[in-house]
Amino acid sequence: MHELAIVEGILDAALPEAKRHGASKILEIRLKIGELSGVIPECIEEYFSIAAAGTMAEGARIRVERIPVAIRCNGCGYEGETGKKRIRCPKCGGADFRLVSGREYYVDSLEVE
């Protein structure tokens, strides 16, 4: 799986930020991951403990918040959440929409000392 690439991406995002703020240790990394994403949080934690060894992120907790699938409906203008199995406008039932969230994964914030 591609969790190692993801973990490296997490460290690439987190370490320079922590350094820039003069932190000596990263205690927690908070991720936001879309409901459509195939990323498995347990796998990330497993790889993270290996990849982070010897860095200031060693031992940091990974906290994952899932982001629900949301759309913007081109029919009625609705913008907001929808189901993740059947993606339709919940207001007008329309199938012409733009996906505005549900695919993302990004590092949202860090807890450092």
Binding site: H2, A5, A23, G38, K84, Y106, D108, S109
Partner: protein, 218 residues
């Protein structure tokens, strides 16, 4: 202390995929990402497309495999420019690999490049490679539950090809279920049933594919 970061984890891949897309826009080359499980029939479909369209378009192929060059040899035997990309264990192709490979082709003398992604329904879907068209393949023997189990690939593809359709009588495969699941996730997707082996359904697929290529290269 809390630090707000808000950085895409795969930002580097997104950045490079935009570079690839920009280069191919300038060169008027259409990049087609073909994804699916091992054995879904990605090479056979690409081979069938080459046979049907090689007089109409100048075609190149990037063959992604974890190891070996069996598929690249098949394409090379057809006299089509091909580059083998071995990912050495990685489960997907990244945009950076495509960026490195493109200079190996003469882009001024190509219209279309097919990328045969690593056989896998999960990871390739997460990595854009600068493609114009995304095709997800599913074959009848794999079962009709795949769009439910691997939503991202089917939610983000332009076309879902159900291959080995000639074998449907031998398997408990409800293609209507696949189509419903795909359209639930991705109402703009085209779901096309075909058999690369017998050629059944191939004309319909080519009828879907060629307008997309023409839009890009003109």
């Amino acid at each position: 202390m809390e630090i707000k970061v808000v950085k895409q984890i795969l930002q580097w891949n997104e950045d490079v995929s935009r570079n690839v897309a920009a280069l191919l826009k300038k060169k008027k080359v259409c990049l087609i990402n073909v994804m699916g499980s091992p054995g879904a029939g990605k090479t056979s479909l690409i081979t069938a497309i080459i046979a049907a369209l090689r007089d109409k378009y100048r075609i190149g192929v990037i063959e992604g495999d974890i190891a070996g060059s069996i598929d690249a040899q098949k394409i090379e035997a057809l006299g089509i420019p091909v580059v083998q990309l071995n990912t050495d264990g990685a489960c997907h192709i990244e945009a950076m690999s495509i960026e490195h490979i493109l200079p190996m082709f003469d882009l001024d003398s190509l219209d279309v490049i097919f990328v045969e992604n690593i056989g896998n329904l999960v990871c390739p879907a997460e990595f854009n490679i600068g493609e114009d068209i995304r095709i997800a393949m599913l074959s009848v023997p794999e079962g009709d539950d795949k769009a439910e189990k691997y939503p991202l690939m089917f939610a983000t593809s332009d076309c879902v090809v159900i291959n080995k359709y000639d074998a449907r009588d031998f398997f408990d495969f409800d293609d209507g279920r696949v189509e419903r699941n795909v359209l639930d996730l991705n109402p703009k997707a085209s779901v096309i049933r075909l058999s690369s082996r017998t050629g059944e359904g191939l004309d319909g697929f080519l009828g879907w594919l060629t307008p997309g290529i023409d839009r890009k290269i003109k």
